[in-house]
Symmetry: C2
Subunit: 160 residues, 2 copies
Amino acid sequence: MDTRWLDDEELDAWIRLIAVVELLPGVLDTQLRRDSELSHFEYLVLAMLSEADDRVLRMTALAARTNATLARLSHVVSRLEARGLVERSPCPQDGRATNARLTDAGWDAVVGAAPGHVETVRGVVLDALTRRQVRELGEIAGAILTRLDPDGRMTPPPRD
Amino acid sequence: MDTRWLDDEELDAWIRLIAVVELLPGVLDTQLRRDSELSHFEYLVLAMLSEADDRVLRMTALAARTNATLARLSHVVSRLEARGLVERSPCPQDGRATNARLTDAGWDAVVGAAPGHVETVRGVVLDALTRRQVRELGEIAGAILTRLDPDGRMTPPPRD
DNA sequence: GCGCATTAGTTGACACGACAACTAAACCCG
DNA sequence: CGGGTTTAGTTGTCGTGTCAACTAATGCGC
């Protein structure tokens, strides 16, 4: 089958999307590391735990909410545990499972990091867009996600 | 100053954008590695060279076109050079500069990889969007880039 | 209730990117 | 034209992610 090459509009959108994907993580990491000694991914892990009931989640559930593999999450949680921000304990209901719980120190870390992080998010993304574009971005990213992650492992729909 | 937290629409757009940013690179890498033994970044390097006059670019120019630091590019070009896909030579005009040139083998590699890559790009992004959304995405990503990269080191505007 | 497949998670080896230190050439300016 | 600054690029080290191999508990089928 002959390749359908990209036309100008498609190429333009693609090139720019790639640039965003390459540059955005670095910017988020840099700010969080500088101000709060956390990588962006570590922040995400702590933030997801902070919103969960009793601040506890099973590793698998946490991996899904952070778009990570279990292996990656396991390494990161080990480091966070060593820093006293998270605690692991075997799940009583299922012997195979592990629960990760946010400690008080972990809670303090997220609470401390959140304002600066939100400010960065506004600064580099949201404030650059109109209200309409923010809504569009939500829809576009949602559409892409259904292709990237057909099984919907990721962040479940609008509902939280 | 009190933090302006994100409202529902903003949070939705942000969470989804983060998910895209986390998942997209992996999908692109996986396809290219499987079918062409190239990482996405390596592909980008070769592709940018393939479009340049005489298939030659100075390292700095190549770094800008691929949104990479010079250090990262230098490592990657070393590997590509070891595989015979790229050649380095000192720039005659400027003794500090290095020119990277795409070899014939490198050309063959990009040409071989391009169709599968474009198909993936369509599959995971472009075909998930309407024509209008593709245009919107271009504008939104462009707006974000002016914040991520205020000096415009990155891909220059529509113009090539 | 035994055995095999599946699910949950961890771990170790390797690959790659970031950062900082370094070399070297060019520019600049008095 | 000589010394300091800037620009271009490379390299070594370290942190972090990926992959594959592994352990262990669960659940299904008969």
